[in-house]
């Protein structure tokens, strides 16, 4: 897991691209599969549950992410907005024949939450245990985005 600097969405270079991207965005919002063209984004309707705790000195954000590879999780902090995104890949069973029940969601997800106050970027920790991602952020007034690695326990 890495804490990366917040990146603004890419600007569209041509009106055509812009139109396609917009359409894909609309399709994504309304859950319509993107047809053939343009986007390689594989967003699903997967919205993992997120909880926010205020623990006096720090904030704790917990996200339910069962069955993920922790290298597929990205955490970014920009000012006081925490963004957690990643991807859950389907792992086919050995000798798989038929899927008779499919309730689990796979693909990419992205969650953002605005913290009530700014957090100190140098004191952000993340751990992934029992399918729960816990991000701990020390409270701070300073707002200075940089790129750092996070210790994963």
């Amino acid at each position: 897991m890495k804490l990366i600097q917040f990146q603004r969405p890419q600007l569209w270079s041509t009106p055509f691209e812009r139109a396609f991207t917009l359409r894909d965005e609309i399709n994504r919002v309304f859950g319509v599969p993107s047809g053939g063209c343009a986007s390689d984004e594989s967003f699903t309707n997967w919205t993992p549950a997120l909880d926010l705790f205020d623990l006096k000195e720090k904030f704790e954000v917990r996200v339910e992410l069962p069955g993920l590879n922790k290298d597929d999780i990205q955490i970014a902090l920009h000012e006081n907005t925490l963004t957690i995104k990643g991807e859950r890949r389907a792992e086919p069973q050995e000798g798989e024949e038929t899927i008779s029940r499919s309730e689990r969601l796979f693909g990419r997800f992205e969650r953002s939450i605005e913290l009530p106050t700014a957090a100190d970027l140098s004191k952000v920790e993340a751990r992934y245990t029992d399918g729960i991602l816990t991000v701990t952020l020390a409270k701070s007034e300073a707002v200075k985005p940089t790129k750092i690695n996070i210790t994963v326990n």
Binding site: L50, L52, L65, Q93, E97, T98, I99, D130, G131, I132
Partner: protein, 126 residues
């Protein structure tokens, strides 16, 4: 909720009071010699997971002990309820051969089929 493993078309039968438990999301895959059931139970440790097989009824129950504390909670989307779901296994499953594995909040159960239900080659003798 009850679900008959081998026939997903069967309508689930409610057997637990509505609203008291959270039903984990499951995937069920059939291979030639087994069924593989995956259940998402984030926050559940091995100590807090109970898998009960009684007659042909398989119960998955997971507790999240530190999950109910409302103190310091600013915003919540997760459910405060414990996990529970019941499945009925039909005769094609060998109830003596059930293996379970829990990793990163994902429970994987391997339910072996009885030998009669597995594909086999028939030798031509004459």
């Amino acid at each position: 909720m009850n679900s008959t493993l081998t026939n997903p078309e069967v309508k689930p039968v409610t057997c637990t009071p509505e609203g008291s438990y959270l039903s984990p999301r499951v995937n069920l895959t059939e291979t030639s010699n087994a069924f593989v059931l995956e259940a998402e139970m984030p926050g559940v440790t091995r100590e807090n997971l109970e898998i009960l097989l009684e007659n042909r009824e398989l119960t998955l129950a997971g507790r999240r002990p530190d999950h109910k504390a409302e103190t310091n909670l600013v915003y919540r989307e997760s459910s405060p309820r414990d996990y529970r779901r019941v499945f009925v296994l039909d005769e094609t499953i060998d109830v003596g051969k059930v293996e379970a594995k829990l990793k990163d909040g994902l429970l994987t159960l391997r339910l072996a089929k009885v030998e009669q239900a597995q594909p086999r080659r028939i030798a031509v003798t004459a």
